[in-house]
Amino acid sequence: MFRDLFLRLRSLIRRDVVDLELDDELRFHLEQQVDLYMRNGLSRAEAVRRARIEFGGLDEIREAHRDARGVRLLFDLGRDIRYAVRQLRRSPSFAVAALLCLALGIGATTAIFSVVNTILLQPLPFPDSDRLVRLAENVSPPAPGRPLMQRGFTYSELLDWRAQSKTLSDAYAVGGAGQQLVRTTQGAVGLWGVTTSTNAFALAQVHAMLGRTLDARDEADPNVVVLSFDTWQRHFGSDPSAIGKVIEFRAGALIGPARPRLMTIVGVLPEGVSLPDARADFYWPMSSATPFRVTPIGQLAPGVSLEAAVAEANAIGAGMRPPWPAEADPLTVPRFEVTRLKDRLVEPVRPALSVFLATVVVVLLIVCANVANLLLARGTARQREIAVRYAIGASRLRVVRQIMTESLVLALAGGALGALLAATGVGLIKQLATIEAPGIYRLMFGSTVLPRANEVTVDLRVLGVSFSLALVTSLVFGTLPALTLSRSTQGSSVRSRAATSRVESRVRSALVVGQLVMATVLLVSAGLLANSFVRLSRVNNGYDASNVLAFNLLFPNQYSIARKAETIDRLLTRFRDSTNVRSVGFSRHGLLMREELFIGSWVPAGRSLEDVRNERTRVRSVSDGYLAAMGVPLLEGRYFDIRDGALAPTVVVISRAAARQYFGVVSPIGRVLDWHFSEGQAQPVTVVGVVENIRQESPTDDVFPEIFVDYRQFLSLLEREKQPAQRQNEHAIGFLSFAARTTGDPAAVVPEVRQIVNDIDSNVGIDAIVPMSRLAANAVARERFYAAMLGSFAVLAGALAAIGVYGVLTYAVIQRTQEIGIRMAIGAQRGAVLALVLRKGLVLTSIGLTVGLLGAGIGSRALQGMLFGITPLDPATFLVVSLLFGLVAVFAAYLPARRATKVDALVALRSE
């Protein structure tokens, strides 16, 4: 048994040696025979001749011998593979086309499926993560017509809740720690943190990479901090001895004058790991006495459904809160929501990923159709070769096996290339999804459009499935011609051959029409997204982001308001003096910052406070120069200027929407608004200017009435109102977003700004210093990503379909060369021949386009939520796409048609 195996293996592996041994043996035999004949008196020549004749063909013996060795099948396979490779190399254009199609199809499908699978289907990379849910209460929006706001609970409410709940086995709390100014080796930096109840890490099962996470002992001694990997790497130089070091946190922004906190670093989280749904630079233990609201994260008890948890939440919540206010819009969703953390994370991209998935399936189908077409055409072109092989005695099985081997080689090579492409593709997708958002903006926009992007890798199972599909396609369509030929009495009858090729040409036409249909659907969808993205980018956000450098400044919280205001003033003066800066200013909260302040009510002459109670107007404290630096167009009156100091009469600049709301069509310049800042007392303010409406975060934002106040006047007003220092700070100068309009490239001014800040006060930290245009681009990063992804697939599909048209018509021309030759010989004009081929192309294209447009009309509805400013049936997009794609398809048909007109009648007639 083993000997048998050994001999077979030796035959295979050391085939050369085995064959040589056989040759030796046979030669010996031959020579013995020759000796024998010579001893019997024959001449040497005659002896050799007779021995040879008796001996028979050497190759024949070798074949039989291989059969006996039991390696025939494998040997044939090896030979078939080598033959297949040789054949493919002999027609490189076919091989390259087929390989590219297969590789692109397998690669694209695998990449997208891997992304979708990880993000939507796999659980979060924490044990039991599917049991973690977030509790939230829906509250009525700050202004009518705005989306509902969500709010958490106080810590003691959460403890109460946990005691009452039977669907939750446990819960922890997450709260904000705000932006903190931290002194590191690289100077003062702003870090964003969260506070967590000390059971959070244990419940979420997040472990430290270095040191430890927070636990119960931190209740007693809360002055400890856990750092994210990113923070540790960026600001603590990846130094393991950072554990145990004490760092000083100074509340950088909203929280007014307060003492700094000294915290000991106890741990660092692993790379890319954060508490679920709580991305932060650092984690503090939460005091159970915290007065702030927290976000409760619950752990569902085993076997409890989400519905049961929601039902219970609304029962418990109803007992905790007064009834839903009658004047607010009625609720359409449960008042208390329970959401799985994973769903919360991935829900925003689910529709887009579903569209990608559908898209890539379509691309894969087009690829399969193209490969099928290529193989069919090639198979038919090789019918003569196949017929010859049958004629000289090859068995049908043998021929089919050879052709199958060729398909197999193609599919394998395509699969290998596809795997490479998939790996590259996953990398590209991640890169395309990356958002460049420094500092505070990272927590706002995230670092990628795709949640969980860091978890995505090429999925081998998916690769296997797409590869199998490609394999089946190549085997079926590669073998079809050989099979049909062998059925048609081995290709001897010309008529049956013609019939076969008619069937095949019909199959090929159907495949091409299918491709055109699918490509049209994709192109229309991509066109809609691209159109939508262009519209989005062209929306007038009310400011001009080009040539603006944005940066946020963080002040130590020991600073008094006066010291802070004075430092700001000195900074502004120095910035203004720079020759590289045209205008400069700051806003209490910058653009693209997820924050809005609604302070008090504004009453114009002739209306009462009651009248305007439900009107919400955004209030923004700015320095003079900010509106000019941001390029907010002045529509009427003037911007703030040096006159509008603390002691001057209070003036405001209002947005166009505010002018309309408070003054209608009358010019508001010089008119007075009463600002009911707190109950009872009103401050009259005079309107000095009207500016364009500003969209705070994204072009899809609604336009909001907005009123601008100079920060110096705002501070003195708050002081006159006897507001506490903390509120003065928070409202007027709580967070400082600077904007500098530069004469040249804003990025080039970064060192100068850093230098100035360091010169004036080295305690002041700089956060997110970046050209404004880059920030603005982040606001539409998601739409850009969608358009780019779908666009690439659509272009790929369109190109493949055009190649399909080209291939089929080229092949038809080759097949009809004789007919065309005859037509020309009997006097057909070139134009007529051109029309003959073009007509076929036009018929295919128009069928494909028509059906495709119908399909797109139905399918584009899936894009509804991803479109901006156009409907899914946008006629312009449909028209442009069908025109462009129609042109491409007709061009693809024109090339073979022109080739047909160049047919030489004589050559054509001889071609059969």
């Binding site: 010996f28 020579e31 013996i61 011998h65 060795r69």
Partner: protein, 110 residues
């Protein structure tokens, strides 16, 4: 090939090869020559059948091959019967006897 030569029934070549090797190891040519002589030139084994058969027998473990030197001092591949080969030969001979007896019986009686 003359008319007085016979085609071997399927499977009998194995038996004959084993038999020729029963006495002593031989190389391929010697086997065919021996069969030729013993059968009084009636059996002429074609190389196309002989060598595949030899390797089939080798794979089944009934004979084993080794390179040796022939009478005229040349390198040749010698085949000899293994233990299992001897047992197999006995089996084949008895099977053949039974078969030929049955066949002759049928031929004589009908």
């Amino acid at each position: 090939m003359s008319d007085n030569q016979l085609d071997l029934p399927q499977g009998t070549l194995d038996l004959l090869i084993l038999k020729t090797l029963a006495l002593e190891p031989r190389h391929g040519w010697a086997i065919s020559e021996r069969l030729h002589q013993i059968s009084s030139a009636t059996l002429n084994i074609r190389q196309g059948s002989l060598y595949p058969a030899l390797h089939r027998l080798e794979r089944r473990g009934w004979i084993k091959a080794s390179w040796g030197t022939s009478d005229n001092n040349r390198r040749a591949k010698y085949y000899e019967l293994t233990k299992r080969g001897h047992a197999r030969l006995d089996q084949e001979i008895s099977a053949w006897r039974k078969l030929s007896a049955v066949v002759s019986q049928v031929i004589e009686s009908v």
